[in-house]
Symmetry: C3
């Protein structure tokens, strides 16, 4: 891991309406005036742990080695849920221990997990309602500045894990579901490219979603019609249902958890 | 105040839909390429002076000493309202003189107030409709760069003041109201922690809001039920009505100005 | 053009809901850790090429000379549309070749146009669905770092052009239309200040929009009534219909493409 990169990424469910994100940035700069702070996003729906975990998983490895990824989606703030700091081969992660890091850490395993307990690095007075400001922001600022992570607490062995809905595979069909809907209305499924290709083996297939059937894979959004949904492998390597120049979500009236069924023919 | 910190915070009602905020940042960097610009927030409702004043008050002191706080909520742009630059013990504030700074300046008093009039530091041609770009952004950029604030105009003695709705206290009851609703639907009141504690004195109390009664103080959002609103002292030290994992605003159908009544028993 | 300014502006239709913008920033910083990244805006409506072109046109020249403007509104991503890098007197522009740069380049002409083809500077694997991340972000990062633009591909002679709706002028009337509605509900027309002044020549005129007639030019939003729309020349030098402390769009129930008619009397 490069040291001295001093980049902190932020991912929260705070939106930009209030001053929560701005306050966290102020706190970071007080500790670490040279930090480069980059928003991953703040539009996660309130308390949307799985959504945040997915957005972190597909974003974290695009950042420079040494980046400290700070994730605050924290419905249990003020309870006994732990606060953790995780070191991997290339990154640091700072978050409440509620599973929000777990999908990213499946891609890049944890090398060291610290339970954050050293109050020396917390804001005073410490609130029970905004640990993003009082604990996570200053800790991330010190981590990015290069402070030894052992400073923040004792080593622990595990962290909470979120499970994605599982894909079910039988001889004839593969059944997944929509797990994320982006700003464009694209329907992201839990079917990854490898699982899809292992199942279809370049043979003929049909994708069923709601009352629609789609029978081939497109390579880009531009290839479709504006009145017929298309299926493609998206830029994060998952099967996605989309609509050219439109919202597949609106067009199909599909929400999260809608089934996506693939049949071999 | 530390000099050389060169941080500018931004708080506006411009949203991120248009290019207004981006243009202001461009203008700042033209004058002061080394400035660190930090968004406090831009989601203040259009012309929401009181809202902006509240968001500034609870955010400003989390920033490093020396930060220049630039606030542009400016419904009277192009009229005779003044443009002011205020120095306090730790910060600079730049804004239209419409009260938007007044709640922050109650917490950290003004030491010097300058009416911004020196056109040398304005963009040319100067518009009557976007002083955020033409006046406030370049002035903030010069202030953050360390220019003597006397350069921008003459010293004046006062600034416009916004008044928050007052809390009414009788022997039996304390009556406040909801003055801000955040992104999570938390209902922030005008009752500060000290006023609340002085009134309840650790005795039994009841909080009435709409048709609900809440009879104890929670320490965190996580302690409540998802079907019963809770009361807590929020991270900015005001009494707040919230709902675990949900929106108290939606659940109670409460909008700003709704009364919050506390009775001693 | 100043070299070494190392500023990259970003304008997309990605919104802040997803992690697309954050991922692009991560990619930029991996190539160019010292880059200063500034959001122009990300609230362009999905596939809103003309909207993005307008927002770029009114923003680009407020940035320091040497800025690399990166625009990603890219409905044809993965098709044969070109990817271009344009050098003007003061700036670099990087975008898909779909006209999104054309209104800005009318104001500041292209000096050199490069078709971006050199895969050496692309992310691998290269997706067909997110060139913002895989091509435009790293190319902008190298450009801002000072790499010779000839590195990215061969010189070409032209780029796609978007046409704004034309203003129609007869002896008695000038007919334009609403081409953009901002966050405040201000109605921006395609009638520029010069065209307006040449037509009205400081004489009496009437502006017709929907069922309203407005017969003079205001100098600022603050001069109007809250129940009567006003007409002004906005800060980007276009004729705009607005409502004091309110939304002209809501008040008049006007959407884009609504006619704006000016009669001389």
């Amino acid at each position: 891991m490069k040291s001295g990169v001093n980049i902190i990424s932020l991912l929260t469910d705070f939106s930009f309406k209030d001053n929560f994100v701005g306050v966290m940035k102020g706190v970071i700069l007080k500790v670490n005036p040279e930090a480069k702070i980059v928003d991953i996003c703040h539009g996660v729906k309130p308390q949307g742990l799985l959504e945040a975990a997915l957005l972190l998983r597909s974003a974290f490895h695009y950042f420079p080695s040494g980046t400290a990824h700070l994730v605050v989606v924290d419905p249990q703030v003020g309870s006994k849920r732990k606060k953790i700091l995780v070191r991997t081969k290339n990154y640091f992660f700072i978050a409440p221990d509620n599973g929000v890091l777990s999908l990213a850490l499946k891609e890049e395993p944890a090398i060291e997990i610290i339970e954050i307990t050293n109050e020396r690095y917390f804001l005073k007075p410490l609130s029970d309602t905004f640990h993003g400001r009082d604990i996570f922001a200053p800790v991330a600022a010190y981590v990015a500045r290069g402070l030894d992570i052992k400073e923040f607490g004792r080593k622990i062995d595990s962290f909470q894990v979120l499970e994605l809905p599982k894909v079910k595979i039988t001889s004839q069909s593969l059944v997944g579901e929509v797990i994320y809907i982006d700003h464009f209305g694209n329907l992201v499924s839990n079917i990854d490219a490898k699982t899809f290709r292992n199942f279809t083996k370049n043979k003929i297939f049909k994708v069923f979603i709601k009352d629609k059937i789609i029978n081939h894979l497109s390579h880009s959004y531009a290839k479709g019609l504006t009145s017929k949904p298309l299926v493609l492998i998206d830029s994060f390597n998952y099967l996605e249902i989309a609509l050219r120049d439109g919202s597949a979500s609106d067009y199909l009236a599909v929400e999260k958890a809608e089934k996506v069924v693939i049949n071999r023919i």
